[in-house]
Symmetry: C2
Subunit: 434 residues, 2 copies
């Protein structure tokens, strides 16, 4: 006999056992229901694509992390590392088949051969949603509203969504005459929450005059409320423009929809460097701000520039499912469920499997999941198994009762160890649904 192969998964990869997988599926079902309620539709794209498509812009950290290889036909291929690049390719390829504005969501796994030391995974799930083909402030607002409503549906509704507009900041830098350093300044400012005010100031002073560094630091501090912050950055940027008007329109929409209290205009939010061109935002849990943003996004000018000449402006956001689950865990708000079936039918005679299933069918058709045990072990063992599996009740149906109509049986409540005799199907449905 050949020696055994050690059963193990690759570093950074995970098995999901039933309780964890049930949780993940229930979360994605809630997220998906929220997306659908806004009229967003799902798409899917291949896990594997031409490396040229995925790495078009090439270089940098991404390229080092991507799983890339030659397939059977010697094609240079790679596993997707996010859902944005495949979506850009998708839009360029199928533009003529899709009515604009196109509102889509995509919930799927992505792969990155990252350093796993910081609790990062190499396989993880992203939940992206975007509106493409619209420049309206209403689209920006819809994404913001969806972020809020979706997190609320999940049960983490106590959030602060911090937003900003990239171009106001750029105008401000231009006014100070330091726009040539904007990339470095943005990169430094982006670390403010992590490294603190002092370090940010000292890093900025290496790039620009200390007077300018002070101006920048002052610029990125939110004032007492949205309106005041907006007034301050408008002034700093040299007066109103389409960018500040957009931020003003968004505030009006928030007020009209009665959700303004959730939003903070935060000039320090920048969201990376290349991709976003308009409004950007991050979402923090008020009970757990240190875990970082659980849902981020922004507006971009041109989604599919690498693959198409057609300009495709859009706005979108992404929920990181793993960070969200880590947050729920830290907040002790995880609902552990080991099964969907709350009732099990005990097996007292293995020859009655057909009868048990016929009985179970009556529950299932009434929308009550029901497990059937198929081994005639001692009842105490079956109760113990049912409990381990997450059931709440066990039906015990003696052989003679199982063949008579109407069926009468005993229901054991596992938590209390109480038996109720002489029940019929309808009784049990009432108890389980009640």
């Amino acid at each position: 006999m050949a020696p055994l192969i050690e059963p193990r998964v690759l570093k950074g990869f995970r098995d999901f056992l039933p309780a964890a997988e049930i949780e993940r599926r229930q979360l994605t079902e809630i997220i998906e229901a929220s997306f659908r309620s806004f009229g967003f539709v799902p798409i899917d794209t291949p896990a594997l694509e031409y490396a040229e498509i995925l790495l078009g812009k090439g270089g940098g950290e991404t390229e080092k992390q991507v799983y890339r290889f030659r397939d059977h036909g010697d094609r240079d291929v790679a596993l997707r590392f996010d859902l944005t690049v495949p979506f850009a390719r998708f839009m360029a390829e199928h533009r003529s088949e899709l009515p604009l504005p196109f509102k889509r969501y995509h919930i799927a796994k992505v792969w990155r051969g990252e350093n796993t030391q910081r609790g990062r995974y190499r396989e993880f799930t992203q939940c992206d949603f975007d509106i493409v083909g619209s420049e309206s402030a209403g689209s920006d607002f819809e994404i913001l509203l969806m972020m809020r409503e979706t997190l609320r549906a999940i049960g983490v509704g106590d959030v602060t969504i911090r937003l900003n507009h990239r171009s106001v900041f750029n105008r401000f830098l231009r006014r100070l005459g330091i726009e040539d350093k904007s990339v470095e300044i943005l990169r430094t400012v982006d670390k403010l929450a992590k490294i603190g005010k002092e370090s940010t100031l000292s890093q900025l002073s290496e790039l620009i005059s200390s007077e300018n560094a002070n101006d920048v630091l002052n610029y990125i501090q939110p004032k007492t409320n949205y309106k005041e912050t907006l007034a301050a950055i408008t002034e700093a940027a040299g007066g109103p423009g389409p960018d500040t008007e957009r931020l003003e329109a968004l505030y009006q929409f928030m007020e009209d929809a009665g959700i303004a209290d959730v939003f903070v205009l935060d000039p320090s939010i920048t969201r990376g460097l290349d991709y976003y061109t308009g409004v950007v935002y991050e979402t923090f849990l008020n009970d757990l701000p240190d875990i970082g943003s659980v849902c981020s996004g922004g507006r971009y000018d041109n989604l599919a520039a690498l693959y198409s000449k057609e300009q495709l402006p859009g706005v979108g956001a992404s929920i990181g499912l793993d960070r969200l689950i880590a947050a729920l865990e830290a907040l002790d708000r995880r609902e552990k469920r080991f099964s969907f079936a709350e009732i099990a039918i005990a097996c007292t005679d293995e020859n009655l499997a057909g009868k048990y299933q016929a009985l179970a069918g009556q529950f299932r058709r009434a929308g009550v999941p029901c497990e059937v045990f198929t081994e005639a072990k001692k009842l105490v063992q079956q109760y113990a198994l049912a409990e381990k599996k997450g059931a709440r009740w066990v039906i015990v149906c003696p052989a003679d009762a199982c063949t008579k109509e109407p069926l009468r049986f005993t229901l054991r409540e596992l938590a209390t160890r109480q038996d109720t005799e002489g029940l019929c199907v309808e009784d049990v449905i009432r108890i389980v649904k009640g």
Copy 2:
């Protein structure tokens, strides 16, 4: 500017546009609900595993098809090509954490670099369900019942499930003294449906005497009903045994559950060669038998033999989602849906986006998905867009009406082009839900 990259997917891979993806998701949701109603729980495993784990048995067609490469850490890795091998590894690794019998389902993508000429895909979805840690006939029956109930839930309930028992056939061959040729005979017999009786007979005659070939061919023909076939193969195998008793018990269960008419005992069903050791089965659509089996499976002695010394008997089946969708297409039973939102709110003033969303929120909270348009185009254009997106109604809410309570607005039915004025939220919910 860099030249454009041609947007395209790899051969054998597919994008799913909204209508196709909505269909796939709705099907898997029905399948999943059916699995859950039987108390089965979901698991998930990594897409990427050690090649050694996935290819343990090595060799053959599989190895040529698998996507295999070296990762950043120079590990020999591969994309999973089915859900059975990862499940075997999973059971060996997590056995102690799982109460037996363990009933799991797994719906996920798998990858095979197959020849795509026969309409096969290199990325496709499998829906597997298994009971591990049970040798009972009741478990065999539960899987058979789930196949039938799940296909019925999908709307292809008019099926014939053909089953057989591997060991009865082996006993029969032993009795003829040709058990040393069993692998070749099984392989030939497996092709009966494809190549016909004549060719099967002539191929068998190359392996065994023509008298034996005739006996084999006679053996594999079903008789007029389950009982008669069972009697014939029992006799041919030299009398009753645990295998024929199992087939008899299954028939009893089918009768007790009132579904015996769906099943045919078909001694020609063999399902490959190595893996299955007990009952095996295939499912055919009565309206479309030529498409082949849409759901197949069987009983195995030892799931995780490669990775663990512990014997893990089980029984399971797999639904091929792509073949099922092809079948629904051929039967003209596909439900084309382009959206989940049946109502859209027209945009007559872009400054009212907040109000529109507040109105939409009332529908969404009532369980009525609702899309909000954010561009103030002409109403006819908005009607056309709504229609393309699959909506049935459009709400038109003039600016002054949008700020008064209670809200009153006009509902356009797109199919009839009829407008109804002066409706409130409750009216529309009634119409849409009705």
